[in-house]
Assembly symmetry: C3
Homo-oligomer: 182 residues x 3
């Protein structure tokens, strides 16, 4: 049989181990270290052609309707694919509005939902709000929340145009979303 | 007088109890278990009649202006009542814009504020952002934040149309909001 | 050499101190006590003049286009300055849209990004969503998120018009933003 002193030491040791685990949990929670990353591709045709996925709705009277013309409002429904390849699996749609909101035409306000339709996230959405700085390579906007699997989500999304075909106004845009795990 | 050993055991026991409470607190914080629920009813008249509460502002040239027509932008100011009954207490208004944002007309982008005017929450708002899947019974959008009593709010809102009168485009919509307590 | 008993008491004391620190950390995290405050000034010209920074894009057919006319949609690009003085340092722009969203013309829906361009926060944004109650002195809207330095931001913004010159529709608006530190 062990002495009372060794019991006491064992208790103390166990308590220290326990405290250590608790501390690590608290620090993780406080710093929210864990982030999830999601990558997909927007297939974007910005025109007034029948197959367009970004269409100008209205602009300021007497001005052109374009991404460089202050006040132009666009409706968006871009297919989202798993790889840059247009014929790869569709994982959802990017739906909402864009508004050229810089007087010099440089920035576009973004109000979108990523509406997932694939097996993994179908029925869930992520809500995006921010400005796209058109002259920058990487355009960062806020992920303000989400629904379904993404309830209470917070994070940011980075857009990068990786392919552009001027003749048909066709762009492939990589979107990388980083979310805090909650 | 108790022996030093019994003091030590008492201290150890107290510390264990203390640790248990602390652990429970940490787990609660980490999981944010507590949610608040709010239910109310939107009184919605979507038309161009003088008493309309949802009115089309503009659409894509050459297309109808409707909830099934991509690019149609609506302004909204729906009265919110305590019960489905139109003449029950008004608790606030749902104000903002809706945009048909699916090329096939199925989804409508939602950018609303719930502007409370009742005794309990008057002067406070909740901001909603998301898409309403019109073909689904339950339409979930994100609660992205709030003001007043709802500062720093996060959550989601579920809309369900519980009554519809086609002749006057009148709907009663139940809205259930669930918020994380913070 | 100290007795085993005094060692045990030392261990116990250290553990209590440790527990105290851990508790304080947990409470701070749970209550998120710390808030940051940012103050700046919007230089706002709401007209159709060439130097306007808030311009009506469209309104409901047959109605005036104005801040008191339900359904009017405005594009915004207000310069933001460090002090009320128009010629003080520009720290950024307030870019996005405003929509008169109360049938009685009292409230305006706000969907803006604060796009910082100064040394301290250049490349970062804060996203604002809410309603501006035009008849109130202090107009509170939600800060729903941010990018760059303000990733994962949450908070609220209070607007107050501190100067108005009717003849040129020029307002100076103080904006105080309070953010949770995360």
């Amino acid at each position: 049989m062990a002495s009372p002193g060794s019991f006491s030491r064992l208790r103390t040791k166990l308590m220290f181990i326990y405290l250590l685990i608790l501390t690590i949990l608290c620090i993780c929670e406080a710093q929210k270290l864990n982030q999830t990353s999601i990558v997909f591709f927007l297939q974007d045709i910005a025109s007034t052609a029948p197959n367009a996925t970004v269409v100008p709705v209205i602009g300021i009277k007497g001005k052109d309707w374009s991404f460089n013309s202050f006040g132009t409002i666009f409706a968006v429904d871009d297919p989202i694919t798993e790889t840059p390849n247009r014929s790869s699996n569709e994982v959802g749609r990017a739906q909402g509005i864009l508004v050229t909101s810089a007087l010099d035409g440089s920035n576009v306000s973004v109000l979108l939902s990523i509406v997932f339709t694939n097996k993994e996230y179908g029925g869930s959405t992520l809500e995006l709000h921010g400005v796209s700085r058109q002259n920058e390579r990487f355009k960062e906007v806020s992920v303000v929340s989400g629904t379904g699997s993404f309830r209470f989500a917070r994070g940011f999304a980075v857009f990068e145009t990786i392919y552009y075909e001027r003749s048909i106004s066709y762009s492939i845009v990589r979107c990388t979303i980083r979310l805090l795990e909650s």
